[in-house]
Structures are given as C-alpha cells and as structure tokens.
C-alpha cells in the first residue's frame, strides 16, 4: 500500500488552508483512513464500492463542512464516527488524504473499457 503515499502528501496542508479547510497531514490521513477502516466501504483510494457498501469519496470530495457532518452525524447507512473514537485532527488528516487522490484515467482512454 506504500504506492498510495506520494511525498507531496506532506505539502497539501498549506493548500487546504487557502480554502478555509482545516490543515491536515495527508500521510497521517492515509494511515488514519486505514486504521478507522474507511476503506472497507469506500475503497483504499476512495473509489467507493458496489452493492451498497459506500459511495465514492474521490476525486473531488464534497466540501469539508459536509464531509465532517456526514462522518459525525451520517445520513443513511453509514455508521457515526464520533469524536471520542475519531479525534478531530485525524478526521482532518483523513480529509487531507482524500483530497490528494487523483482522478482516474477516463474510460475512453482505457482499452479494456472501450465499448
């Protein structure tokens, strides 16, 4: 799983600050994403999973306020991750990780997915 951890994770905190999102450490966020098992429903790269497991988180996650709200007081089937079990800083870090996930190649560019 080390392949998911490009060095630029360390730099994303500053860029988050520019859009009023709390600063987070993406590298720590990736660890927290695995530790709190976000990946079981959303996949290790936030791609989501089928059969009702969980929607995609990335690329282009929804804004921080909505992200935090959903994690703390979820709608639908997602379990609630409350502060005493997922501290604020780790949630911020998780969001930082999710924001670093790049868009996949388009379907048109993948030979296996051509019609």
């Amino acid at each position: 799983m080390k392949s998911f951890l490009p060095i630029f994770f360390l730099l994303v905190g500053n860029s988050f600050a520019q859009d009023q999102t709390p600063a987070g450490n993406a590298q720590n966020g990736y660890k927290a994403y695995l530790k709190y098992q976000c990946y079981t429903c959303h996949g290790t790269v936030g791609q989501g999973a089928e059969r009702g497991a969980g929607p995609k988180l990335a690329p282009n996650p929804f804004p921080w306020a909505g992200f935090e709200f959903q994690v703390r007081t979820p709608r639908q089937d997602m379990p609630a991750y409350r502060k005493q079990h997922l501290p604020d800083q780790e949630l911020v870090d998780i969001y930082a990780y999710v924001r670093t996930i790049k868009a996949p190649p388009s379907a048109a560019s993948i030979p296996l997915l051509k019609e």
């Binding site: 098992q37 989501g48 379907a107």
Partner: protein, 617 residues
C-alpha cells in the same frame, strides 16, 4: 500398523480373497438366505441386488451424474453404479463434502436444465448437505437427493451404523424440500423416485428426497418380472388465468412509465427471447435482478443499474417471479431499521409468481408480504406468450419513446464505464478492474459466469445475450455455494464448448475447498479467479455499524471478520489438489497475462485458478 493388527488384517484379507473366489464362481447362482446370527454367508452371493434396479430407475430418468461423498449406507447403490452400471450415466462424482455434492447439482441444473442426483449418508451426510439444500430451495432449483439409511434395526451393524441411521432421515430437510419418501419395496422405490423427479421438475422447481433403505439396496431382487419403472411424463408448467392476464395487459398498455422487474423467469433461451418480446411490446425498461439470465444486457431496454430510479418513477410495475417485491418498492435503513417508500403511493402493481403455490412456515425465505393490484399464480415463461399477445392488442402509450429510451440506456452504460475507472490502478485490485480483465479472456469465447450476483460488474460491463451467460446466485445466500456450483456448471458446459468462469470469493471457497480436487479429479475445466479480499467483508461492515450504533471504537471491526495473519495462499491450496494455479497477484497489470495462461489450461480441459488480492467490494 502393529503386529497384532497386521495379523488381523492379513486374516481378513485371506477371508476376503476366499469370498471373492466363491463369489466369482457362484455369480449366477440364486441368492441363499443366511440365518441371522448363524455366522453363515461366506458362500452367499447376491448377483442381482436391489440397488441394480435402483440404478435402472435413475437411468430411466436420464440422470447422468450422482455426486457423492462415499458412505456405507449406500455402499450397495454405489457398487451398482460403478460395476453394474459401468459408471456411465449415471457416473459417480467423488465429492469431499455433501454440501459440495448438492451445490454441484445446483450449479449443474442451472447450466444444463437437467437434474443431477446426489447421495448422502444417513444422518450425518444429510446434516452436511442441509445448508446447500436450503440454497437450492430458495433458488427454486431441482436436485434429486438420495439418502442412505438402514431402517431395520435388527440388521444394523453395531456401533457407528446406529449413529448414522434415523427414523425420519428426511426430517431435517423437510422444511425446504418439496417432497420425500422412504420406499419399503423396490416397486415403491421406482414409483416414488419417478414421482419425486416429476414433482421436482414441475414449477416451482425444488429439491426432493428419496431415502434408499440399505437392506433394500443390498438384498436380492425377489421377483424382477413383477417390477416396472413408471413412464415419466413431465407436467406442463401452469399458465396464468386468461382473464387476469388480459387485465394485466390493459393496465400495462395504458401506463405512461411502466417498468418490468424480473428475477427467476427464463428457464432457457426461449425465455430470454420472450422477455425481449414483452419489453419491446411495451417499450418498457427492464430491471433484471439476475436470479436467472432473463434479459440481454446489450438491449436498450435493459436498465438494471437504474432500478431504483425506474421504480420510483413508475406508474405500473410488472413483477415477474420476484422474491422480494416489497424490497423493490421500499427501503429500510441499517442499523436504524427505518422504512422508506421508494415507489409512488398510487403505483399499480402486477405480480406473476408461483410463490404462493409452495411456501412453508419455518424458514422465512418468503420475504415481507407485498399486496399487489393483480396477482397471477403462474409460471412466468409459460404465461409470457399470452401476456404478449394481449399487450399487442392493446394501445401502447409509449410507442414513440424509443429514441429517448436508447439515449437513457447509453447514458447508463457511460456512467458505468466511468465508475469502473475509479481505483483502476489500485492495489488491492478493484472489483471493476478484475471483471474488465476477466472479460478480455472471455470475450471471444462462448462463455458462462457461474455466479453473477456476488458482484454486479459483470452484468454492468459485459455484453450478455445468452441464457447460459449468467447463472444467478445461491438463492439462500448460504456461504459455500459458489465454488461447488461453479464446478457443477462447468461439468454441464464441458461438452458444449462453453467456457465456464467464476469470480470466487475467498470466504466462500474456504467452506469446502475440496471441491477443487473434485474438479481436478474429474477433469472439469473451470476458470476460477479469486476475489480475495481476505475477509468476510460484509461482516466487517456490520461490525462497524454496530460500533457506530453503540458509540464504541471502530478500529476493532476486523477482529473476527478477516481471513489474514496468516494470509491464505489460494494458489498453493489449489495446486495441492491438482489444480493449475497462480498468485497471489496484487499488481493489476499482472492479471491479464495470468488469466491468459489459465485460459490455456482450461481450454485443455483442466481447471485453473488465479488468485487476485482485491478491494473489499
């Protein structure tokens, strides 16, 4: 073996040799009746045991295979299959677990439309078989179950044989089989076995059981001339009552937004053809729940991925043999159990189903009661011709909407392809990538995916037009179905030039992995691709939900739910049983070449397995 045991063994072997010699010499002599307890009988020969006649009965039913783990309660039947019958039609398939035997028969039926028999030992074998029988019951699949049992207590050998006999051998299964009997004579056996076959093959199809008494098997046939095997004439499946079918056609013809939801409809390609005719007559989208392959995924009216939205907007819903119509029109949140209506409150509903014809109380596979506006108790495939005929005579409110529907179909397919790109290069491998890679080795073949509900990607991405392309799922969701059912399906497809593949979950395989040996032993060509997420993944998510509900820590959800530390090496597991295998593969780029190598093995008539470490779902 110590010296005493060796002497004892040699003594026994000498006696056996003597008995064999006598047997060979006396093969044509009429059987002598030995007095119980007299010690007589070494020179006794039963040249024509009852079990030979039982084989004749199975042959009369055109049963090609008997899947079984060998056992003493049907030793005579077994011997008659291999020696009297020459192990041909039926052939004895060596299984390492009764659950595998039943599930093989389950998969075999879905691929071939033919019943397979399986044999289970008295009490314990039937207990092993039970879960797989339940799956077949829930999936409306016929299986001929044969139980061995010694009813006459005075004839039983002391010890284990008593523990393996019961008064009511089929009792443990009776809640989820259609019919059973324990014949007291050979004529009774013939009539009940033909009856059982006929009942099993009459929709709603279900498993049936015949308990073959051990002494009836082993004793000589008394008066063969008096025995006869009844002629089998299968019952025509029941059609819907014409008045109700006409009313359904009127309702559908007048609908603005009808949707067809189907699950266990097509029995063969004719059923698929009829479904296309129905959908086109209505110009209505079809949501195929894939209990069977009902509708081509290439057709512009195949809109299974849009099911919820279509149900939400529908003014008329036609359910065709759907196990849970209530669940299609409502949702329930988990873990809070809050109900939400999805369908419109005034939606009109029609259900053609045989569910009410056969429902038992104990096991609750009937799902929540769902009132409908028109309820037709009938076999769908048999009813479709008249329904289509009535619809064609009515006005069609949607005749001019074909272009819109084609566009919506193309949009759905485009969304699916884009969704498949997410995590494309991830490791563990995404399930979409896994299916896209598998398609590359199947696309130029006549293919069959032996289980098609555990993942939706095949139905979403692959162009499927043939009834044998997708074989649906287990029915009861009893884990352990997929591997043996795939072996059974591959056996059915073996001589038809159909390549059988399965995306094999790790947890499912580990229930009874010995079925891989059965595939190798019987040279059954099956391409297994592991969906190895190293967990009972659904249970991980359940633990997370419970922790959230109880306001407790989440990071413990993998305790008791994962299959790691150590990781199971599925390639080695397969290789140890004589199956060609590669893996574990974690780099998605390496899947394609491995599948090509595996396919070469399968094309030579052997099973192959590629272990791929995957995302959870």
């Amino acid at each position: 073996m110590d010296n005493e045991a060796r002497r004892s063994f040699l003594k026994g072997a000498a006696a056996t040799l003597a008995a064999t010699t006598v047997t060979a010499q006396a093969a044509d002599k009429p059987a002598a009746k030995a007095k119980p307890g007299s010690g007589e009988g070494l020179d006794k020969v039963i040249a024509r045991p009852g079990s030979d006649f039982m084989v004749d009965v199975l042959r009369s039913l055109n049963i090609d295979y008997v899947a079984s783990n060998p056992a003493s309660s049907f030793r005579s039947f077994h011997e008659s299959i291999v020696n009297y019958g020459g192990n041909r039609k039926p052939e004895f398939l060596t299984c390492l677990h009764e659950e595998s035997s039943v599930a093989m028969a389950h998969g075999y039926y879905k691929a071939s439309g033919k019943m397979m028999a399986m044999m289970a030992h008295g009490s314990v074998g039937i207990q092993h078989a039970a879960m797989a029988v339940y799956n077949a019951w829930c999936d409306r699949v016929p299986v001929m179950l044969i139980g061995g049992n010694f009813m006459d207590a005075a004839q039983r050998r002391p010890g284990v044989e008593w523990a393996h006999c019961s008064q009511n051998a089929a009792g443990i299964l009776r809640d989820f089989i259609k019919w059973d009997d324990q014949p007291a004579s050979l004529q009774h056996f013939a009539e009940s076995t033909v009856r059982a076959y006929k009942m099993a093959m009459t929709p709603p199809m279900e498993p049936v059981m015949i308990v073959a008494d051990g002494m009836l098997q082993e004793h000589a046939i008394d008066d063969e001339k008096s025995l006869s095997i009844p002629k089998l004439v299968l019952t025509a499946p029941p059609q819907g009552e014409s008045g109700a079918v006409r009313e359904a056609a009127k309702l559908l013809g007048a609908a603005q937004n009808p949707v067809i939801v189907c699950e266990r409809v097509a029995r063969n390609q004719e059923g698929v053809k009829l479904m296309v005719e129905l959908a086109e007559a209505l110009n209505a989208p079809v949501v195929d729940l894939l209990g069977r392959m009902n509708f081509p995924t290439t057709h512009y009216l195949c809109r299974s991925s849009d099911g919820r939205a279509l149900v939400r907007d529908a003014d008329v819903i036609l359910f065709l043999e759907v196990g849970d119509p209530w669940g299609q029109m409502n949702s329930i949140s988990d873990p809070h159990h809050q109900y939400r209506r999805i369908a419109k409150p005034d939606v009109k509903t029609i259900h053609v189903t045989l569910a009410e014809q056969l429902m038992k109380s104990n096991y609750q596979d009937m799902q929540r009661f769902c009132p409908v506006d028109i309820s037709i108790s009938a076999d769908v495939q048999a009813t479709l011709p008249s329904l289509i005929e009535f619809i064609k005579k009515t006005s069609n409110a949607r005749a001019g909407r074909t272009e819109t529907l084609r566009k919506e179909y193309q949009q759905m397919k485009a969304r699916t392809r884009e969704a498949a790109t997410l995590g494309w290069d991830a490791s563990p491998v995404s399930t979409a990538r896994l299916h896209a890679e598998l398609w590359q080795v199947l696309k130029n073949e006549n293919w069959c995916l032996a289980e098609s509900r555990n993942s939706s990607w095949a139905a979403r991405l692959w162009p499927a037009t043939q009834h044998h392309n997708f074989l649906g799922q287990s029915g009861g969701a009893g884990v352990g179905y997929i591997a043996p059912a795939a072996v059974g399906a591959a056996l059915a497809n073996k001589d038809k030039g159909i390549i059988t593949a399965v995306v094999q979950p790790d947890g499912d395989l580990m229930y009874a992995p010995g079925v891989l040996w059965t595939a190798a032993h019987h040279r059954i060509p099956l391409l297994s691709v592991m969906h190895n997420n190293r967990a009972y993944h659904q249970e991980v998510m359940h633990l997370q939900k419970m922790a959230g509900l109880h306001n407790r820590r989440m990071d413990t959800a993998r305790i008791g739910t994962t299959i790691e530390d150590p990781n199971i090496d599925y390639a080695k597991l397969a290789q140890a049983q004589g199956v060609w295998a590669e893996g574990p593969i974690t780099d998605p780029a390496k899947i394609g070449p491995a599948l090509q190598r595996a396919m070469a093995v399968v094309k030579k008539g052997e099973p192959a397995l590629v272990d791929v470490v995957t995302q959870g779902r």
